[in-house]
């Protein structure tokens, strides 16, 4: 991708936000899932607008996902966020049809995944999609190297070639030295690196990650997020990332979708959602986000009225990161884009106002 990372962007490893390319890669069209003995009846009730709890009480059917439509772009890291029971794990499984949708379509580059025969579906899963799981789901009887090679072996790649690629993938995630060990001998973070390598080695177009880092300690979780962003910077994939962790979503997402009760409440860039929450639910969700870690200098820069002094800060720098600079100087801080052009200034009042209000004020 021709997007140069902005100097001093949100996290050292963070790839630059994409701005120009908007090619839809994965499209979900009015997709729903009703669990129960008579999905057709449940669907009909769903169309009439019955609530999740009503449907459960009356007909014993559970709405997993309700009329979700999404466009996910090429190379985008798209986070689906929600509390447990919001339908996010069901949603990700509808994409590769681990769960069959009750209605609606999944389109991958215009190909209707929902209409594929079993044979074509198997081919699609081998060639174009892979998945990382919350509980790692490594095969206990294979060593790390053969676990990573699993997807390739299933697809009929010979053992030598598959292992060769697997070793390279292990190096990519930084754990080549444990290739001969059994998964159970590794820590959780290491196991998930294996899971990530296993998913990455098949060079999927779409990577599905279901709560992939949720089972890990906070410190390890951050490390894994960095590892993922590093992979993503060097070799962009389209990633659908399921999470219930707001800090994680804000840290890694290009865009976020907020889900509850099987429905999408809002889709947008993290800052957009915080700045303009669609409803009370979304607002409550983002209540605890610190604006200093969410907004960048570029988000709040205004036209400079006066001469420009001092070294500019990067447009991608987090407000938190420019605080010391603002504290040290009375003059407005100039803000420069990736090419070094001054795009505006931030004065101290503006910065404090934003942090106090929780979002940029006009």
């Amino acid at each position: 991708m021709p997007c140069a990372p902005a100097p001093g962007a949100r996290s050292p490893d963070r790839p630059a936000r994409r701005t120009s390319h908007r090619i839809v890669h994965l499209r979900l069209e009015h997709i729903s899932k009703v669990f129960g003995s008579e999905p057709a009846l449940g669907l009909e009730a769903l169309h009439r607008g019955i609530s999740k709890s009503e449907l459960l009480a009356v007909t014993n059917h559970v709405i997993g996902v309700r009329d979700v439509s999404l466009d996910i772009e090429h190379g985008e890291l798209f986070v689906v966020m929600g509390l447990s029971g919001s339908g996010k794990s069901t949603l990700v499984r509808l994409i590769n049809r681990l769960i069959e949708p009750s209605e609606g379509h999944v389109l991958l580059d215009g190909i209707d995944v929902t209409a594929l025969s079993n044979r074509d579906l198997v081919a699609l899963r081998r060639d174009k999609m892979s998945m990382v799981f919350q509980s790692f789901a490594l095969l206990p009887h294979l060593n790390v190297l053969d676990n990573v090679a699993f997807g390739l072996r299933i697809a009929g790649v010979d053992a030598t070639t598959a292992r060769h690629h697997a070793r390279a993938a292990l190096e990519l995630v930084g754990i080549a030295e444990v290739a001969g060990q059994r998964p159970e001998q590794l820590s959780g973070g290491m196991q998930q690196r294996v899971g990530l390598a296993r998913a990455w080695v098949t060079e999927p177009e779409i990577l599905l990650m279901d709560e992939a880092f949720s089972a890990l300690d906070p410190l390890i979780r951050t490390e894994m997020q960095d590892a993922l962003l590093e992979l993503q910077r060097n070799d962009r994939r389209t990633i659908v990332f399921i999470s219930h962790d707001l800090a994680e979503a804000v840290r890694i997402a290009d865009r976020i979708a907020i889900m509850s009760e099987g429905e999408i409440r809002q889709v947008g860039k993290p800052a957009e959602i915080v700045g303009n929450p669609a409803d009370g639910y979304v607002r409550a969700f983002f209540r605890d986000v610190q604006p200093g870690r969410l907004f960048t200098a570029g988000d709040i820069a205004q036209a400079c009225d006066g001469p420009i002094y001092g070294e500019p800060v990067a447009a991608g720098a987090l407000l938190e990161e420019i605080l010391p600079r603002a504290a040290a100087s009375d003059a407005p801080l100039p803000v420069a884009d990736a090419r070094g052009n001054i795009i505006g200034c931030i004065d101290r009042g503006r910065l404090l106002q934003t942090l106090a209000a929780g979002q940029p004020t006009s």
Binding site: D127, M129, M131, L139, A155
Partner: protein, 272 residues
């Protein structure tokens, strides 16, 4: 009150009918099991006794440890010194043949149970019946169908030893974590690849426990099967009982115990 459902007469009629009309079918089973059992027995008798004892000792060394290997060799030489080697090999052959058939039938049946709740609902009471019906009850019809000799003994042993193989295969596959199965599917497994590359390997400890149980049950059936002429150590025990020769009976029993310990430890080692 006289209210008698004549199950006894129905079963007798059925058995008589089968004896009269199913002879061809039973003959095929009989000759297959004969070839299998005697084949294994001849094979085991091919090397001299000390060589087979040492070979089993080597297996014990590889799978368990050197102490158990030492025990294996010493215990087998004890059997040789009691002059029970041929009986022991005959019993071992019977156990191995019966276990082999039990697994060939039981593991696929267990897989079918794991895949289908309906199959499981049908199979489960049949397994209960096989395990709890007193062995003598089907020993007699087995002798009627297959004549005397080791074959009806093998058949009775198969009936008795198969249930744990079915149950533990079923249980093992059902207990494979859901995410592991999803991982298999997400990477593009066909149903066959899912079975042989994910489910069966992940269920291996449970399946091996089933195999171990099948062997143990087969051994416990040996003495009973000797009553219809299955031969082997069971025959020694039986002769001891009939002649009130406590010492002879004990020697035969000791042989069974030694075989049981060796087979148990070695098959258990494959489950880890």
């Amino acid at each position: 009150m006289s209210f008698d459902i004549p199950i006894d007469r129905w079963i007798s009629t059925l058995v008589d009918w089968l004896v009269d009309h199913g002879q061809g079918f039973f003959d095929v089973i009989r000759s297959t099991l004969e070839v299998l059992t005697f084949g294994i027995e001849d094979l085991l008798l091919l090397p001299p006794d000390w060589l087979l004892a040492c070979a089993l000792g080597g297996l014990a060394w590889w799978r368990v440890n050197w102490r158990f290997a030492l025990f294996t060799v010493a215990a087998l030489l004890l059997i040789v010194s009691m002059d029970l080697w041929e009986e022991t090999v005959a019993t071992l052959a019977l156990v191995l043949a019966a276990t082999l058939v039990s697994l060939l039938l039981g593991i696929p049946l267990g897989i079918a149970c794991a895949y289908s709740d309906r199959v499981e609902r049908i199979i489960r009471p049949v397994l209960d019946l096989m395990q709890t019906m007193p062995a003598f009850v089907y020993l007699i019809p087995a002798a009627m169908f297959f004549g005397l000799g080791p074959v009806p003994g093998v058949v009775a042993t198969i009936i008795f030893a198969m249930p744990p193989a079915v149950r533990l295969t079923n249980l093992g596959i059902r207990q494979v974590p859901a995410e592991l199965v999803e991982a298999g599917l997400a990477f593009g497994c066909t149903w066959w690849q899912l079975l042989v590359k994910v489910q069966l390997p992940a269920a291996r400890p449970s399946i091996m426990a089933g195999i171990n149980q099948a062997i143990m049950l087969a051994l416990s059936m040996v003495v009973i099967a000797s009553m219809i002429g299955a031969g082997g150590l069971g025959d020694t025990v039986l002769r001891g009982i009939q002649r009130l020769d406590v010492g002879l009976g004990f020697e035969g029993g000791l042989g069974v115990v030694i075989l049981a310990i060796i087979l148990d430890r070695i098959t258990q080692s494959f489950g880890r």
